[in-house]
Symmetry: C2
Subunit: 191 residues, 2 copies
């Protein structure tokens, strides 16, 4: 999506340690009208899939998921990060490694909010190793819910998570980064 690539080039900053800072519009300050444009694009891509629910994980996916959900007219469910090891049996849970923070979280979704009647679109701001998304896919599997696909804002293609995920479900990333460095900037798929 040209709009997102241009915005990343304009406002994103590549930092040492393979960090892309897009917190001026995507994951700290949220440019709401801009995120609505991304939401419309996800709707265009998945409008014929019979989506009943959008699923994301706290925190930075929630804004994008809510703004996207408006175009589908469906609820959002966000998976919570749980510190507790004693989980109630009223939740689906899965383990997620955080590449950014170097730790493992358990993410949980109440069994009340996903069922075999659901067709889910998973939404997130970033896809790198794909660990968070695999956790959400695992939760959908436990719930018996169908997954129409994943709608991602920014994919770091070179981290390989996208390739693994595409073996399991449809993945639509609005900006796909092929390489990135402080010296040479960002190269997008389709440049």
């Amino acid at each position: 999506m040209r709009l997102l690539q241009e915005r990343i080039r304009k406002d994103g900053r590549v930092l040492p340690g393979d960090v892309l800072k897009v917190d001026s519009f995507l994951n700290h300050q949220l440019d709401v009208p801009f995120l609505c444009e991304l939401g419309k694009e996800f709707h265009r891509l998945f409008s014929d899939c019979g989506i009943t629910k959008l699923l994301t994980v706290e925190a930075s996916g929630i804004g994008l998921a809510c703004l996207t959900a408006q175009y589908f007219g469906v609820p959002v469910v966000f998976a919570k990060k749980s510190k507790s090891k004693n989980l109630s049996d009223s939740v689906f849970s899965s383990s997620v490694e955080s590449y950014t923070h170097g730790n493992t979280n358990t993410v949980i979704v109440s069994k009340q909010y996903l069922s075999p009647d659901d067709t889910v679109l998973i939404i997130d701001d970033f896809l790198a190793t794909g660990s968070a998304l695999k956790g959400l896919l695992d939760i959908c599997r436990q719930a018996g819910a169908a997954v129409a696909g994943c709608g991602i804002a920014v994919e770091k293609v070179y981290q390989g998570g996208g390739e693994e995920l595409r073996a399991e479900c449809r993945v639509e990333s609005l900006a796909r980064i092929l390489s990135m460095s402080v010296e040479n900037g960002i190269e997008f798929f389709g440049d």
Copy 2:
């Protein structure tokens, strides 16, 4: 707001330990068209205040803030919970006690995203002791930003945070709970 009171009566559950479960529509599963109605009400209440930014804290305020921000046409900034005690000097920070989790978090906002040019509307799903909101007010003060007020979905009046906050700024809560118990249900202000 009649609409929210009716929804809480219909779908909320009062649990032992002073817990109001509204996770079917407000803070786990999010009823997006319904939250848009709350957002329109916040806009009606604060439309003449020259709001430049909405401020909330992760995670459960983000959806409501984003859907509300659309009517104002302004960005959302969400404060992040930080585990690190070594904070960079590029952030404003404040301590927040969590009534629900019985611990203290540091919440941070990058200095890039709040300034004396801003007039802020603080948005959150719940107001109980007011600790999170006081932390956000503190951050606005550090930034030199003006605060037009707080827009809250559900206030537990009997926990006293609202009274304290109103000494500092305008607070508009869309449903105000005067008392609540498993036996007797919920009594709202204005019932």
